[in-house]
Amino acid sequence: MILRADGLRKLYGEFCALDGVSLTVDQGEFVSIIGPNGAGKSTLINILTGMTPPSSGSVRFKDREVAGIGSVRLARLGMARSFQLVQIFPDLTVLETLQAAVVSRLGRGTRLFTSLARDREVQAGALEVAELFGLAERRHVPARQLPQGDKKLLDVASAFALRPEIILLDEPTSGVSTADKTAIMETLVAASRRIGLRAIIQVEHDMDIVFAYSDRIIALHQGKVLADAAPAAILSNQRVIDTVIGRRAATG
């Protein structure tokens, strides 16, 4: 087991966003978290990635308690994430963005007088990820000038450039065209195999994507786990179909 959460609870004043959520993620798994708006998916991801501390409960990553330790320390431990709303460095080029992740991974960020351009390991590492994600041709383009689909790819690619053991993707295909969605997922899965990623957790609304790629699906509803099962079992769970997936999607 690589990640384990027990009894996660998150209160925002009187509102309970998460209410006793527990989950485990094993090595080699692709886990999708689904649920209607307000189910607590993003809160869960934010807690798992250390950005938000839970009100109670624990998160253990590689047998270490990591709840609320912050995304910087978690990234160094081997957990990366991407965001629902695309997060880029607008004035940095594609290559610079990936170089920043590689520099961070190699722990070279405080080197003040070494030349970045002459650091072959950083250059090669960044270029490798750019090629992996099909961004090599646009490596000198500032991130703000990229089309939306490429911005999303760059956001995910920069997380992959950390060579994490586990990656949490908050709606990796949101805001991109239907045609681009499958391409992004195929790129993502191929890249994860290439870098030897141990597990992927994604939050996703698109059920075609969820059922096509997941080993296991966790359905959330009103801050609680409604179901945690393989895709086939989820499709036969009437409560999940009624509250999360919808009848048409389940039969389509």
Binding site: V72, Q87, D91, L92, A100, T110, L112, T114, H140, S158
Partner: protein, 318 residues
């Protein structure tokens, strides 16, 4: 390539200026070079890290007063010792100030730096016995590389050895800063400027990097401040006043904070423009206020931005 040629031409022009230029204009180059050092540091914080300090006159003051104290209260005259002491003292004072300020961003960061600047200003103004109050403290002529130049007339000293010494310090400061901004550290600063939340998810500790950038910028400000002292021969509290901090930000905006050499250009234009406007009208701040408004509206990327705007980026040219 073009930048390299421009830099070589500017260096050559600066090198021959004392030989062919009028004394008055050569003397104006001295504060320019001192401010250029200050602004190279300030822009590491402003242009590269995204933090606007309204209190960097504090560190300029520390550098200048360090030199004044050393030359007027001890027998030491070595400018190398003065610059080194200014750098160390600047870093020592900057460390606690930075530790507090970099936890805040935007206007809160600016106001905190302003507050610390005002505290220092009040200190040098009120502790008369120590600082000379509003009269200031003399900055005696420093020796350069072991040479006292005592017999040399002051103007000859300033337009000769001191000019080239300042030029060498500026050259060294530029080289070091260029290495910093082209280093992995420089790249991490740019990620923080663009998107601190994203930078953190990549494992880049935002507070730590901001702290380091602040301390480095303070060291540059202190070294530049120490260079400001010898031409006037006296250091007074106006160096640490908040309007001086404002002038530093103005120079950076004027030249362009998005460009490495922008602030240096800003320092040059500011010094000569101020001198010219002051000779024409007594209300130079009125004119400069109007110029600042025009820059923000018409050329937010400053004078350097006007040049680079016409030139397409490498990716666009490809």
């Amino acid at each position: 390539m073009k930048r390299g040629l421009g830099l070589a031409a500017a260096t050559a022009a600066m090198a021959v200026a004392p030989l062919v230029g009028g004394t008055y204009h050569v003397l104006l180059m001295l504060p320019f070079m001192a401010y250029a050092v200050v602004l190279l540091g300030l822009n590491l914080l402003f242009g590269y890290t995204g933090l606007v300090s309204f209190g960097h006159a504090l560190f300029v003051g520390i550098g200048a007063y360090t030199g004044a104290f050393i030359t007027s209260r001890t027998t030491i005259r070595s400018l190398e010792v003065i610059l080194l002491s200014a750098a160390v003292l600047g870093a020592l004072v900057a460390a606690p100030v930075a530790a507090l300020c970099v936890r805040y961003v935007k206007i809160y960061f600016g106001m905190l730096t302003l507050a610390f600047g005002m505290v220092f200003y009040t200190f040098v103004l009120k502790f008369y016995r120590l600082t000379g109050g509003d009269e200031g403290t003399p900055f005696l002529r420093p020796s350069l590389l072991g040479h006292a130049f005592d017999a040399m007339p002051k103007i000859d000293y300033l337009t000769g050895p001191y000019y080239y010494y300042s030029m060498a310090v500026l050259g060294l400061a530029t080289l070091v800063m260029w290495r910093i901004v082209c280093s992995p550290f420089g790249l991490c600063l740019k990620t923080i400027r663009d998107n601190p939340a994203k930078a953190e998810t990549l494992g880049i500790g935002v507070t730590r990097y901001r702290f380091l950038a602040f301390v480095i910028s303070a060291v540059y400000a202190a070294v530049g401040g120490a260079l400001l002292g010898p031409p006037t021969g006296n250091v007074d509290p106006t160096l640490a006043y908040w309007t001086h901090s404002g002038s530093l930000v103005f120079m950076t905006l004027l030249g362009g904070f998005a460009s490495f050499f922008g602030p240096v250009v800003g320092a040059f234009v500011f010094i000569y423009l101020q001198n010219w406007v002051m000779s024409v009208v007594p209300y130079w701040r009125l004119v400069f206020g109007a110029i600042l408004a025009l820059i923000v509206i018409i050329a937010p990327e400053g004078l350097a931005g006007l040049v680079t705007r016409r030139r397409p980026a490498p990716a666009e040219r490809a």
